[in-house]
C-alpha cells in the first residue's frame, strides 16, 4: 500500500506505508519516544466487504498502537473505542522514525506512561532526579 504525503510547498513523496510507517518509532516534538506504530487507521474502508471500483483511495487518518499489534498478527479488529490513536495531522516528519509536532504529554496515548510516572515512579525517592 502506497501513501502519499502532501507537504506544503514541496513535491508529494510516495512512500510504502508498510515499509516506512508500520512498526516505526514515533517521537514527540522533544524527540522523546511515544510509541511504535502498530497499525494505521484508514478512512472509509470497511472490512469483509469488497471495495467497489471507482472508490476514491482511502486516506490515513491516524497512527494506531496497543491491541492492534495482536490483531495485526493474528487477525480481527479491536472496537474503535479501544484504539490508541495519534491523529495523522500531528505527524510532522517521516524519516527513520516519525516525528510529531506536538509534545507527548498532550496525547491520549501516553496516558499509561504519565500514570505510571505520576503515581508510582514519581513517588519513589529519586524518581525526578537527573541521573547524569
Amino acid at each position: 500500500m502506497i501513501a502519499r504525503r502532501q507537504q506544503a510547498g514541496a513535491n508529494p513523496r510516495r512512500i510504502d506505508a508498510r515499509l516506512s510507517l508500520l512498526d516505526r518509532q514515533v517521537l514527540d516534538a522533544d524527540r522523546v519516544p511515544v510509541q511504535v506504530v502498530g497499525d494505521l487507521e484508514l478512512s472509509h474502508v470497511s472490512l469483509d466487504h469488497p471495495i467497489p471500483p471507482g472508490t476514491p483511495a482511502p486516506v490515513i487518518t491516524a497512527l494506531l498502537s496497543g491491541p492492534v499489534l495482536a490483531t495485526r498478527i493474528f487477525g480481527g479488529r479491536p472496537p474503535t473505542s479501544r484504539l490508541h490513536r495519534i491523529d495523522w495531522a500531528d505527524v510532522a516528519e517521516i524519516d527513520v522514525a516519525l516525528s510529531l509536532s506536538v509534545r507527548g504529554d498532550t496525547l491520549d496515548v501516553t496516558w499509561v506512561e504519565r500514570w505510571v510516572s505520576e503515581h508510582i515512579i514519581g513517588r519513589i525517592p529519586g524518581g525526578h532526579s537527573d541521573p547524569q
Partner: protein, 166 residues
Amino acid sequence: MTDHKTFRDPRRSRGTSRSRVANVVGVVLLCAMLAGCVTTAGGVLGDLSRSARSAASDLHSAALALDLYSRGDSTIGVSETALDDAVTDLTSQQESVSSLSVSTSQERNARAAILSRLDVAVHAVIRGKEALTEADGAESVHSARKQATRDASRMKALAIRLEKLW
C-alpha cells in the same frame, strides 16, 4: 510482502491453525520417543548407582573442605557452606532413593545398602561441620575427614558393583 498479510482471509487462518496443532503434536510425540532412549537408563539399578556416584562426590567434596580448613587454607564460610551443600545433596539422594520402587530382591538389597550408607554419610558430614566450630576441633576435623574419605571409597565401590549389574 504481499497484500493478504494485512487483510487476512479468514479461510486461510483456519487452515494454518490446524497445521500448527499438528506440529505441536508431532513435537510431543518426538519427545516421548526420545524419552525412551535416555542415558538415565539401567532402571532401578542405574538410578541407584548414579545416586551412589553422587554421594561419593559429596563425601569427597566434604573431605576436601575439611582438609583445606585444617590446613588453614580455607575460611569458615567456605568450608561450612561446602559441608552444608554436601549434606543437602546427600539428603536429597536419600529422598530420591527411598522413593524408588523396587521389584526384585537384588534391587531391594541394593537400595537398602545405599540407604544405610547414605545415612552414615550424612552423619559423618554433619559431625565434620560441627567440628569446624568446636574449640579444640582439630582432632575431630581430622577424624571426620578420614571418615568421609573412607565412606566415599565404599560408596564408589558400591556404585561400580551396581554399574556392572545393569
